[in-house]
Every structure is written in structure tokens, then in C-alpha cells.
């Protein structure tokens, strides 16, 4: 008989309404990878995301209160210059620039290195020649080298400046300005036609690309230094602020140039605010230096991988900024086909209908698929078809010509595993599943022992397409069980690592590839 007590137990061992799945954790993890431009970043770039000396030096005159302290500067310079035994001009220039700006003491070893840094070899392209010389000359300006023999080279450098034809750069305000500045720093007599050319500089356009940005700054520098008249467009300040504020510029040299232009336009407050919001936020807490702008942005590739991992749940995290940026990439003519395809797939997965507008790239890519694939073009075919099929599932597939593969040869082993893992992308998929008997017989061993290379992971994605391997569901389960030891890392619990050490980075590309392994991810019922 039913009693109230029994009813009270109802639901104790009842199933959940929705089985537990990882979707919300993956979304949280991917959200942490959102870049400044709306696209997502790769977590495996971790090591490169340190702040660096050059970027900090570029901004040193504009950082204001955010400039690293002299102590931080001295430590950073010591690490980069001494521990890594650097001798290149740009890094040494950066070290000196930062020490000068922050008031840090220069260690004798660093002074010695700077004194010895060679004058760059003569450059054939005039812009490169002016740039190379300028950095060497700027070093002269920042320190008293009279106790060294550095100044002996100054004469030769001066002659190289004289060799530069002003006529050849008369329509390039930025180069004219740099050349002029170089002469000033060397306290060397300037050619008459240089100053004449500079006086004729005017603003041809507001910053809209690399050259126009630098030319704009040069025009303002000239106005200030030569005390000449200059017509400045009324909306210049607003235009520049908007460019930087919207994070549309990835290049720190350009951002710094624009900040300098704002200073010259009298917009100190605007410049300071931009530094706070766009540059200081990039200061690496570990070493006190500024991270390069390019690092803060996400990439199409990472966004594409995120869309493969999250699939029908990708619209939940792809916001308007993401879609906008993907469309911008699709509209940029110089973008290569594969990147365009990835952007297209990500846009499609984001739920935006706009992807149809860019679908022409699919036909272009399909036209380039080889009819037959061999060991030689296997990797390229697989890389392309894997993306293409996401954009258009009716893409015609090619056939794979069989090749010899031995398990003890790393390279042929990996090709065989790649072929097996991607057998579904070939017309002769059933045939492929019985290819490479030597490799297939080694599969049970490969999936049981976590080797150090990628072939362990390739074996996992191949095991379900290996009809000669004798592997069945129980083997898949125990292989996936072992794989769990590589799941998660400090910041991301749902992504996989390449190495056993828990302190290593997670990899988004590995994680997206592992959806092919049964049980690696539990994404729950598809929406």
C-alpha cells in the first residue's frame, strides 16, 4: 500500500530532468577567452602573453602615472637584456628608453652593451634606412656616451644621413620628419632642401591607415618644431579618439603615434583617458610591462574552434561585436581562403543570417579540392575539408589513395592516424577504415599509453574508424577514462591539456578536436 512516507521518497532516485552536461562550464571557459575585438583567443598562447619591453618603451612618454617604477624597469631590463644576452638594437633601445623615462639606473653591463651595439647595415629601401638609423641615433640622445667610444661611429652615421635623397621622400611627411629629427639629435647641419620640404607638409587626410597615421603626426610635429602654420581638420581629435577607443587598431606604434598627435592637438585629457582604458589595462601584473595590443585581440581561428566546440550553443556567447568582427574579416579582400571559411563557419554558428552574404568563398574553395588525395596532400585536404563541410555539408568529397604506413615511423604513423580519424571526409571511407593494418594493430597500445606526442590524441580520434583494430565500446570507454587525466588546467576546467603536468596550458585546438572521441565531452541533448 502506498503511504505518505513512500511518496515522500519519490524523486530520491529519480533521474534529472536534464542530464548533467558540460555546456555551461564550456561557455564560461570560452567567455574568459573573449578578446578585445570580440573574437576569442587561444589559451595556449599563454607564454607569449607577458608584457614586453618594446611595447612599454613605445608608450613610455605617454604612460604618465602608469609608467613602471624605476625598480620594475631595472628588473625588467635586467631580465630581458642580461639573462637573455640580447644584443639587438631594438631591444637595447627599448631598455634605454624605459630606464630613461622611469629614472632607473643603468647597470654597467647594459651601458657596455649599448655602447657596443653596431650601426645597422645600410638598407636599400629609404624608409628602412631612415628607421634603422633613427633608433641608433636616438640611443645617442638618451645618454652621455662620452666615456665610451660610441661617438666615433656618429660621423659615419651622419654621412649616411647625408646620402639620403630628400627628393625621394618629399611626399612622405613621416620620413621627412624622422630624418629631420635624426639630424637634430646628432646636432648635425641639416640639408637646406630638407627644411624646405618639411615646410610644405600639410595634412592630406585624417588617420585611416598606417601611413596616414604617421604622416598626420609628422605634420603636427613639424607645426610645433618649425612654428609653421597648419590647417588641421576640426574633427581630428574626435576621429582619433574614436579609432583608439573602438579598439580598431592593433599596432602599438600606431596607437602611440595617435596618442602623441592628441598631445600635440592639446587634447591631453583625452589622451590620458585613452591610456587608462586602452593601454594601462594591458599592463602585465607579473612583470609590470605593457602587453602588445595584438595579443589582446582574439583571432578568427580561435573563434572558429570555439564555434566547433560549442556548436548549437555558440549563439549564447557570440555577441554582436563577435559577429561584426567576423563580417569585417570576411569583407577584407586580402584574407586567405581558409581564414575566410573559418570566419564564415563561425558566423553561421553564431546564429547570424548574414553568413549567406559571404558564401561565395565556399564555391571558390570547393573548386580547389583535388579529386584524389595522397599522403602528400593529405594534411592540406583534411584541414580544408574539415572546415568546408561545416559551411556546406553537401561538399563533394575526394578519394584517398592508400599508402604504406608503419607504426614505428612517426611521420607515416601520424599520416595514417590522420587518415583514419578523417575517413568520413573521403568517398572511400569504408575502404580507409581497413587501411594501414600495421598501424591499426598498434592502436590498442597507442590509446592506452599517453605518449608525449600528438599521435596519442590522433590515435584517440582514429580508434572509432579502425575496423582492423579489434577495439570496441569497452576499449573506447577505458581510453576516454584515461584521457580525463588531461582534462582541465588552472583557468579552464572544461578544456584539455596536451601534457600531464597540471601546470601546463590548456589547448583550445586540442579540445575542439577531441569532440571526436566518444565521452570526451558531454554536451547534453542538442538544442
Amino acid at each position: 500500500m502506498l503511504t505518505a512516507a513512500l511518496l515522500a521518497f519519490a524523486g530520491c532516485s529519480a533521474g534529472q530532468n536534464q542530464p548533467n552536461n558540460e555546456i555551461s562550464t564550456i561557455k564560461e571557459d570560452v567567455e574568459k577567452l573573449r578578446g578585445a575585438n570580440g573574437l576569442f583567443r587561444m589559451p595556449e598562447g599563454g607564454d607569449q602573453e607577458r608584457g614586453d619591453l618594446y611595447t612599454t618603451a613605445l608608450f613610455s612618454e605617454n604612460l604618465g602615472s602608469y609608467l613602471p617604477s624605476s625598480q620594475v624597469a631595472v628588473t625588467a631590463v635586467g631580465t630581458t637584456v642580461m639573462e637573455q644576452d640580447t644584443t639587438d638594437l631594438l631591444t637595447l633601445w627599448s631598455a634605454l628608453k624605459l630606464l630613461t623615462a622611469s629614472g632607473g639606473d643603468m647597470a654597467p653591463e647594459i651601458e657596455a652593451k649599448l655602447a657596443r651595439v653596431a650601426v645597422p647595415p645600410k638598407q636599400t629601401e629609404v624608409g628602412a634606412e631612415i628607421s634603422a638609423l633613427w633608433f641608433w641615433i636616438d640611443v645617442s640622445r638618451m645618454h652621455d656616451w662620452s666615456r665610451t667610444d660610441r661617438n666615433a661611429a656618429a660621423g659615419a652615421v651622419g654621412t649616411r644621413l647625408d646620402d639620403i635623397s630628400v627628393t625621394s621622400i618629399s611626399d612622405k611627411p613621416y620620413l621627412l620628419w624622422r630624418l629631420y629629427d635624426s639630424y637634430s639629435a646628432l646636432q648635425r647641419a641639416k640639408p637646406a632642401d630638407l627644411e624646405r620640404a618639411l615646410r610644405q607638409v600639410d595634412i592630406k587626410s585624417l588617420p585611416h591607415d598606417y601611413e596616414s597615421t604617421l604622416d598626420f603626426q609628422a605634420a603636427l610635429e613639424t607645426k610645433s618644431t618649425l612654428k609653421k602654420d597648419l590647417v588641421v581638420p576640426n574633427d581630428a581629435k574626435a576621429h582619433i579618439v574614436q579609432l583608439i577607443d573602438q579598439g580598431l587598431v592593433n599596432d602599438d606604434a600606431l596607437i602611440d603615434s595617435m596618442l602623441r598627435s592628441l598631445q600635440l592637438l592639446g587634447a591631453q585629457e583625452d589622451a590620458h583617458e585613452l591610456v587608462r582604458n586602452r593601454v594601462a589595462v594591458r599592463i602585465d601584473k607579473e612583470n609590470g610591462l605593457v602587453r602588445a595590443a595584438a595579443l589582446e585581440n582574439g583571432s578568427v581561428h580561435a573563434t572558429y574552434l570555439a564555434s566547433r566546440l560549442l556548436d548549437t550553443s555558440f549563439p549564447d556567447i557570440a555577441n554582436d561585436r563577435t559577429k561584426q568582427e567576423l563580417e569585417r574579416v570576411l569583407r577584407t579582400a586580402e584574407t586567405d581562403t581558409l581564414t575566410r571559411l573559418k570566419a564564415l563557419v563561425a558566423l553561421k554558428r553564431s546564429g547570424s543570417e548574414a553568413w549567406h552574404d559571404y558564401a561565395a568563398v565556399v564555391g571558390q574553395a570547393q573548386a580547389n579540392i583535388p579529386a584524389t588525395v595522397t599522403a602528400d596532400n593529405l594534411n592540406q585536404y583534411v584541414e580544408l575539408i574539415d572546415v568546408l563541410v561545416q559551411a556546406d555539408p553537401s561538399t563533394p568529397l575526394s578519394s584517398l589513395k592508400s599508402f604504406d604506413a608503419q607504426a614505428d615511423n612517426e611521420s607515416s604513423l601520424s599520416k595514417a592516424l590522420i587518415a583514419l580519424s578523417n575517413s568520413m571526409y573521403f568517398k572511400n571511407s569504408a575502404e580507409i577504415r581497413s587501411m594501414f593494418p600495421a598501424v591499426q594493430s598498434k592502436l590498442p597500445e597507442l590509446i592506452a599509453n599517453r605518449g608525449t606526442g600528438l599521435n596519442y590524441f590522433r590515435a584517440l580520434t582514429a580508434m572509432t574508424s579502425a575496423s582492423l583494430s579489434g577495439l570496441d565500446s569497452n576499449d573506447f570507454d577505458s581510453a576516454t577514462q584515461k584521457l580525463q587525466a588531461l582534462k582541465g588546467c588552472k583557468e579552464f576546467s572544461s578544456l584539455y591539456r596536451l601534457q600531464t603536468d597540471e601546470a601546463t596550458q590548456c589547448s583550445l585546438s586540442l579540445s575542439a578536436a577531441l569532440i571526436a572521441v566518444p565521452g570526451a565531452y558531454d554536451l547534453g541533448a542538442t538544442k
Binding site: 519519490a10 530520491c12 572509432t464
Partner: protein, 154 residues
């Protein structure tokens, strides 16, 4: 096997004695359910569950499947039993060698190499103090680079 029928809420209101009478008759009522998800090219993956209505404290046959019309890289059937009440669920006479998971109430089997489906069947018994036994089935397939899952519950 694509039956779509209403889920019957169990035998909660039936007295024990009448249940015994029902159990004796052959062709006992069964519950079934199914669910479908789709891949990008429109290919469906379907989860099907069929379970004989089980008497309180009793046993019944079950059969579940994960199926597609074309062959994916792999197709997995995960079937979990649940009950309202107390006691332990027990599963026997299953068509696979191991349960496939560490959860005693869950069976799992993944087929590949050209297979278009994964099937589980056997007998399931509810706990001594239980009055409804149900099942969740999820069908997951990896096909053309995408993972999709259909589910059904009875």
C-alpha cells in the same frame, strides 16, 4: 522503431494485488518514447526507448536504441534507469558484456566502423519499495565533424 507515444505515469495508484493480476497476463502494457536531433545536412539521430510497464517491486523487459539512417563515425546509446521509491534497481540479461559506465543504473554502448545504430536490451527490476520505474535514453552521434544528441525519457 520510431514510436511516439504518450508517457504513462506509472502504476502509482494501482493496489499491489491488482498488479500481481496484471503481471500474470501476457502482453503487458509497455511505455515507449523517442526523441530526435538533427545534423547540419538534415540527417536525424533518434533515441528510442521501450520499457515494459513494471509492477511495483517487479521486473520488465527493456529495449533502447540510438539510430541514424547513415553511418556516423560513432553512435552511442546511453540508457539510465530511475525510479520513484526505495530499494535498488537491478539490471540483468543485458546484450552487452559490461555496463559501460561506473553507475550501476546506467548502460552505455558505442558502435562505430560503419554501424548506424547502437542497441541495448535486457531486463530491469525496480527496488522493493518503488512504484515507478522509468528510463532516460540519449543517442549521441559524431558525424561530419559535429556532435549531436537526441534524448527521450519514459
Amino acid at each position: 522503431m520510431n514510436m511516439v507515444t504518450k508517457v504513462r505515469k506509472g502504476a502509482a495508484a494501482i493496489a499491489l494485488t491488482s498488479l500481481l493480476a496484471l503481471g500474470a497476463a501476457s502482453g503487458a502494457q509497455a511505455t515507449s518514447g523517442s526523441g530526435t536531433a538533427y545534423f547540419d545536412n538534415g540527417q536525424p539521430i533518434t533515441a528510442n526507448m521501450w520499457i515494459q510497464s513494471v509492477a511495483e517491486g517487479g521486473c520488465g523487459s527493456f529495449s533502447s536504441s540510438a539510430v541514424m539512417n547513415v553511418s556516423p563515425n560513432w553512435i552511442r546509446n546511453t540508457t539510465s534507469f530511475y525510479q520513484y521509491g526505495v530499494g535498488s534497481i537491478s539490471i540483468k540479461g543485458v546484450n552487452i558484456s559490461q555496463s559501460g559506465t561506473s553507475n550501476p543504473n546506467t548502460l552505455q554502448w558505442t558502435n562505430s566502423n560503419g554501424a548506424t545504430g547502437s542497441y541495448l536490451s535486457g531486463t530491469v527490476c525496480m527496488g522493493w519499495g518503488s512504484f515507478y520505474l522509468g528510463a532516460d535514453v540519449s543517442a549521441t552521434g559524431y558525424y561530419y565533424g559535429n556532435l549531436r544528441t537526441a534524448s527521450a525519457r519514459v
